[in-house]
């Protein structure tokens, strides 16, 4: 990535930051980043980019393009695209054509929107367009709520696609993939965190319990889940490749990838836990490892996996990890590791880390999964604790018993020893805490393609409907997790999708805290009872509070509640509720079919909740 690209990337990020700003800063003589960022922080700035784009679409009355979209969309070869997304650099230049198709945006459609939108010029002249406070309040009176990090996602779209596709693609992305996060509350993404926790438990129970002792939920994954990794990815090519991966997969794929990024840091996290650096675990896991997407290296790893792999188990680490390097005092450690990647590594520096200059050895003596071998280079590796995902294992309860089996060597690209799910058997005795400041680990240099493949393997091994994942009893029927479909005809209409954000209780089921889990981020929580009680009291007031009782009656009540809520949306939908400012709602039998499907999801969710027990969902 050229410096120009990097600068462009960041300047557009800033430009979008400016888009986020609310009325007060514009026109103010001292309007500067402080206000801009300040307004970006505001919780309830409405998503006027989307609303305006939709208004434009409504104004043109353009619905015919939907049909052509669907035609194009339906002939997409999803499997082929998924394979392509695993290759180095993903879709490459073709992503300009592929992303809009994956998002059900056609060029014709988007162009008409774009022409309408050009008058507003809201992107290139964000500040001017936001000077009019009244206009802003009008624009922003919509159902979507902008959240911090959203502009990071939009930035990736803007820097990848031609301008005429920007708004249409951001709109579709928001409506059908990001929607859960665009309500006023954090609950939907907390739901995904619970799914992430369950996935961690499945993938690596021991590691999961270590993490849960530290934090009740994997909050360090928040940013990745909310921003589809765009908040923390250091370079545009890397995040574009991540988007290649995510956009040709169901929305839940982000959970698998986020989980992989937690799993690959296991050794570092375990080390921190041993050193009682609980907060540092949060810092570690909320930052991304050094990632590479180097085609030349990757070709070798993809096609030369029969080569005897370099064995490093007895080799001393060649480099000190930045996390443990030069650490005279806690202060310095925090400098190195507590801040996220772009804090510690300026963009220009990050660019240079993409080129394996400082790790020549890895580049030349390449190993199929270097990152993992880096870790193994220090410690002996225990393979049998966790069975890494296999492509040919059946899913189901049996997996729980299988997770102690050695990994089958069926993974063509990733030798067993190199799996992300491999782990150190135990730390060599000489690595006691007394040598904390000695180099313990090699830096985590990972190849993005390997992580993506690992996420796929995790998905195959523990698919979203895996019972222990409890996805359907955590996320509600109107979550994008359940409403998204490869077939555009099965997606909710844009209006319906927008309305769903107003019913958070149908996006994620109300959270029932685990009674036995240590609350909070610290082990030494003693006064958690108050908080627990408070939350329970809160729950009792909720119509869903009955879920705490494992009775069929409760399930019935819930299903009825969901059904009535869905019906309510439809009724308001048809009667032109203010939510649908733009009107043009055409209830069809198809809508009903979809609604019944979503209700069905709720029924299934409740059933599994009742059958599987209440505790499994959290």
């Amino acid at each position: 990535m050229s410096k120009k690209h990097i600068i462009g990337y960041w300047s557009v990020r800033l430009e979008l930051t400016a888009v986020c700003q609310a009325e007060k800063s514009a026109g103010n003589g001292v309007a500067n980043q402080r206000q801009i960022s300040s307004h970006c922080h505001k919780g309830f700035i409405r998503m006027n980019v989307i609303s305006n784009a939709r208004q434009a679409a409504m104004a043109t009355g353009d619905t015919s393009s939907d049909i052509s979209n669907k035609t194009k969309k339906d002939i997409l070869d999803w499997d082929a695209l998924r394979q392509l997304s695993l290759r180095p650099n993903g879709f490459g230049d073709d992503r300009v054509d592929i992303w809009p198709k994956l998002l059900n945006v056609s060029k014709d459609n988007s162009l008409s929107n774009y022409e309408e939108k050009k008058d507003h010029e809201m992107l290139s002249k964000a500040e001017e367009s936001h000077q009019d406070e009244r206009q802003i309040s009008l624009d922003t009176d919509r159902s979507f709520v902008l959240y911090p990090g959203y502009h990071d996602i939009a930035t990736v779209i803007f820097l990848t696609l031609p301008p005429e596709l920007h708004l249409a693609c951001v709109e579709k992305l928001s409506l059908h993939r990001l929607r859960d996060s665009m309500g006023s509350g954090l609950e939907p993404v907390l739901g995904l965190l619970r799914v992430t926790k369950n996935l961690l438990r499945l993938a690596d129970p021991e590691y999961a319990s270590l993490l849960e002792a530290n934090a009740q939920l994997p909050f360090y994954a928040l940013s990745n889940l909310l921003t589809l990794f765009s908040h923390d990815m250091p370079t545009l090519p890397l995040i574009q490749h991540v988007f290649d991966y995510l956009l040709c997969r169901p929305p839940i794929a982000v959970v698998y990838l986020a989980t992989v990024l937690i799993l690959v840091r296991k050794q570092e996290a375990v080390k921190l836990a041993e050193e009682d650096e609980e907060g540092m675990i949060h810092s570690l896991l909320s930052s991304l490892p050094a990632l590479h997407d180097d085609p030349s290296c990757m070709e070798e790893s993809l096609y030369d996996n029969t080569k005897p792999r370099k064995r490093q188990n007895t080799e001393p680490p060649e480099e000190e990890p930045s996390f443990f390097k030069e650490e005279p005092e806690g202060a310095d450690k925090s400098l190195l590791s507590a801040l996220d990647a772009k804090d510690t590594v300026p963009v220009e520096t990050m660019q240079s880390t993409d080129i394996p200059g400082d790790d020549e050895s890895k580049a030349t003596d390449f190993d199929p999964v270097p990152g993992y071998d880096d870790q193994k280079g220090v410690d002996s590796v225990k393979l049998e604790d966790v069975s890494p995902p296999s492509l040919n294992e059946n899913m189901g309860e049996a997996d729980k018993e299988q997770i102690t089996h050695p990994m089958p060597s069926s993974l063509e690209h990733s030798p067993p020893e190199a799996s992300l799910l491999s782990e150190p058997k135990e730390d060599p005795p000489e690595e006691g805490s007394t040598q904390y400041r000695e180099p313990l680990l090699k830096p985590t240099h990972l190849f993005l393609t390997d992580l993506l493949k690992q996420a796929d393997e995790l998905f195959t091994k523990f698919p979203p409907d895996h019972a222990a994942l409890s996805l359907s009893s955590i996320m509600g029927p109107q979550s994008v997790v359940f409403t998204w479909s490869e077939r555009s005809s099965a997606l909710p209409s844009d209006n319906t999708a927008e309305s769903m954000v107003s019913r958070p209780e149908l996006v994620v089921y109300p959270y029932i805290p685990e009674p036995d889990t240590t609350q909070g981020i610290s082990k030494e929580v003693t006064d958690k009872g108050k908080e627990d009680r408070r939350r329970r009291n809160k729950l009792k007031k909720s119509p869903f509070g009955q879920m705490e009782r494992k009775t069929m009656l409760a399930g019935t009540v819930l299903v009825l509640g969901v059904a009535m809520a869905v019906y309510g949306i439809k009724a308001r939908n048809a009667s032109g509720h203010p939510l649908f400012v733009e009107g043009h709602v055409h209830p069809t039998t198809k809508d009903w079919k979809r609604f019944s499907g979503w209700i069905g999801g709720a029924v299934i969710g409740v059933s599994s909740k009742l059958l599987g027990g209440m505790s499994s969902d959290s």
Binding site: P148, S286, G330
Partner: protein, 208 residues
């Protein structure tokens, strides 16, 4: 032989008042003109040297100020020994938000928590909306430490963390140090950082 004490510190306050910038200045002595909003919370550590024998290591939880993250805050302040509640001196609404946080801390947090109220963006005092008198009066009433800072210039930043370190109960025997009597455990008396003796090795705090 030096003693190191470890305390958990939480930063609270409305979004964009400069919590992360304050921490960045304190921990790294840096300032970003373009600071990304915090998602969730960030964790950092920094050690303050009080004298030859005493250091205080702060484990800092820098929380996201956006309203939607409010429900996560108890997790971070629950076991906190000290809290820095930040407002923006150019936004009077941010002081109201700070009051809300302080009320919540007084209700929910550990009763012995040391709370410092911190008016940030002192470099923008030309656009000041919150007077020093108003903030100080409130802090005195509530028994809070109070100061004004500029994460951008660094003014007052080290001073407030040092003052907090001095106020925290250093209970180990060797923790006795000059001035310790002023800050007994559980003391909640207001401390005007302007008038407080500067910590060793630190320049005199000045808000002028």
């Amino acid at each position: 032989m030096s003693k190191q004490f470890q305390f958990k510190l939480v930063l609270l306050g409305e979004s964009a008042v400069g919590k992360s910038s304050l921490v960045l200045r304190f921990v790294k002595d840096q300032f970003d003109d373009y600071r990304e909003s915090t998602i969730g919370a960030a964790f950092l550590t920094q050690t303050v040297t009080l004298d030859d024998k005493t250091t205080v290591k702060f484990e800092i939880w820098d929380t996201a100020g956006q309203e939607r993250y409010k429900s996560l805050a108890p997790m971070y302040y629950r076991n906190a020994n000290c809290a820095v509640v930040v407002y923006d001196i150019t936004q009077s609404a941010s002081l109201e938000k700070a009051r809300t946080w302080i009320r919540e801390l007084q209700r929910q947090a550990d009763p012995s928590i040391v709370i410092a109220l911190c008016g940030n963006k002192l470099d923008l005092s030309a656009r000041r909306q919150v007077s020093q008198e108003e903030a100080k009066k409130y802090a005195d009433e509530e028994g809070l430490m109070w100061t004004e800072t500029s994460a951008k210039t660094g003014e007052g930043v080290n001073e407030i963390f040092t003052a907090i370190a001095q106020k925290l109960p250093l209970t180990a025997p060797s923790a006795n140090r000059a001035g310790a009597s002023r800050t007994g455990p559980g003391a909640r008396a207001g401390v005007d950082l302007n008038k407080q003796a500067a910590a060793p090795g630190q320049p005199e705090a000045c808000n002028c």
